[in-house]
């Protein structure tokens, strides 16, 4: 008999899938908590965001994974940080996936959670890493 790898879970943590379940540039929605939590893979790093937009409560994780337009000079538009932002499906507010921070209103954030990979499994911490605020 081979020994099962022992995975130690901290309080509030749970196993939500396998390490390869979220491909780069994608999101999976985990049905936990009142709204669900989206786990995003941005260039190989995993981030977890609550599926509730702090603006009007939309299921924000179902929005488009995108970049942001930044201003050039004089008044030209440039595309920046493709794949690092999430645009809410209701009002298109843009949020930085890594921090949950709203691009237009930096004081407003989506609630973020810890997510880690150990021994090939994906572990989500249900304790918010940071409260979303309005």
């Amino acid at each position: 008999m081979s020994a099962e790898p022992a995975i130690e879970l901290a309080p509030g943590e749970r196993i939500v899938g396998c390490a390869g379940d979220v491909e780069p540039g994608k999101m999976i929605l985990v049905p936990v908590g009142p709204f669900g939590i989206g786990i995003f893979n941005v260039g190989g790093k995993l981030y977890a965001l609550g599926n509730r937009c702090p603006h009007r409560g939309a299921p924000v994780c179902r929005g488009q994974i995108t970049g942001v337009v930044v201003g050039g000079s004089p008044q030209t538009l440039a595309w920046s940080r493709d794949g690092e932002f999430l645009a809410c499906p209701w009002h298109a507010w843009e949020f930085e996936i890594a921090t949950g921070r709203c691009h237009a209103f930096p004081d407003i954030r989506i609630r973020t959670y810890g997510v880690r990979v150990q021994d090939g499994v994906m572990i989500l911490s249900m304790r918010p890493a940071r409260e979303g605020g309005e």
Partner: protein, 351 residues
């Protein structure tokens, strides 16, 4: 009034309509200028030809508000110790050079007739410039920008495109370089102006009176959306026909969908309304304030009136207001802000 009042908007006139001719280059002295009485919407308030003006200022051979000592006495009687003179240029003229020369002549006349008595005089001036001639406008600001009695640059509310657009930008940069706010006031004349409303010409004076000042919103949204205030942090704009009562509902509309549409204007970094305290001031206007005076102090407070509003009488026009009525119902601190401190903060050369 406990403290000396600043009147941010007085409109002086030449004694005779043709007085400006002597301030024009010789080659232009045969040219007819836009007349003081050439006016699409004359106010139906009195006997011609001075229906535009307060009864007390009419009569005599000279135009109203054309004699500095008379105006000075009037100001003193109202407790006003500084008045910013904002002469009108009576509409956009199709000849761009003539338009700029009328501005320069107006400025020279103002310096000559009104601004010669030194710092103790109640009068301070506005540098008229022609925004349709950006090069000439910049030259005119450079010519007079250091004049110790000039406290602002003035342009018409009437324009052929909104003032945030890029062909105007060097004008605003020049004004900011000289630390001169830019006052935007309806010229009210009869030039090659666009219609006073986006839907054309209203029929009556009352429609013109109420609707024309609201054109400020097109310039304001343009200044913000084009990123002018981000590019020129020192620019201060004064909307000199009033409209403060409409300002905040319009800002609500602009704020609401800025976030989802900001990718079109990424140089705008804040809510539209967040630019107001730093960059925008409004004149008081006799049209504003609810009919129920009990509501007014609350609306004033909610709409940041004590930071944004400056008293301006609009003298000698028939609709001129006095300092007392402009701040009726407000507490003492707010009265001081509106009647004196906001203008003194904005116009550094009031003396």
């Amino acid at each position: 009034m406990s403290e000396p009042v600043v009147d941010a908007g007085v409109h002086p006139l030449p004694a005779r309509p043709d007085d400006l001719l002597e301030y024009l280059p010789t080659a232009y002295r045969t040219r007819p200028l836009p007349g003081v009485h050439r006016y699409l919407y004359p106010a139906p308030t009195g006997e011609p030809p001075f229906g535009e003006y307060l009864a007390a200022t009419r009569g005599g051979a000279a135009l109203p508000a054309s004699d500095p000592s008379t105006v000075s006495r009037h100001l003193a009687s109202q407790g006003i110790d500084r008045a910013v003179l904002l002469p009108l240029t009576r509409g956009i003229v199709p000849d761009v050079e003539l338009g700029s020369l009328i501005c320069a002549a107006t400025n020279d006349w103002l310096v000559d007739v009104w601004l010669g008595n030194g710092a103790a005089s109640p009068f301070r001036g506005s540098i008229r410039i022609n925004p349709h001639d950006p090069e000439g406008a910049v030259r005119e600001i450079e010519r007079l920008g250091d004049h110790p009695m000039m406290v602002q640059v003035a342009v018409p509310l009437e324009a052929h495109s909104p003032y945030g657009q890029r062909h105007y930008r060097r004008i605003w940069e020049a004004a900011a370089t000289y630390e001169l706010p830019v006052a935007i006031h309806s010229d009210g004349g009869c030039g090659v102006d666009l219609p006073p409303t986006p839907n054309g010409y209203p029929r009556s004076y009352i429609e013109y009176l109420v609707l024309m000042p609201l054109n400020f919103i097109y310039h304001l949204s343009s200044f913000i959306a084009e990123g002018v205030f981000e590019r020129i942090p020192g620019l201060r704009v004064v909307f000199a026909d009033g409209g403060h009562d409409m300002l905040h509902p319009l800002m609500w509309r602009m704020n609401e969908d800025w976030a989802p549409t900001r990718m079109e204007i990424p140089w705008v970094r804040r809510l539209f309304s967040d630019y107001l305290p730093e960059h925008v001031r409004m004149f008081t206007s006799g049209l504003e304030g609810p009919i129920d005076p009990m509501i007014w102090p609350d609306w004033f407070q909610r709409t940041d009136g004590d930071r944004l509003l400056m008293f301006a009488s609009n003298y000698p026009h028939w609709s001129a207001t006095d300092p007392t009525s402009a701040v009726a119902g407000l507490d003492e601190a707010a009265r001081r802000r509106v009647l004196c401190e906001n203008a003194r903060d904005l116009y550094r050369r009031l003396g």
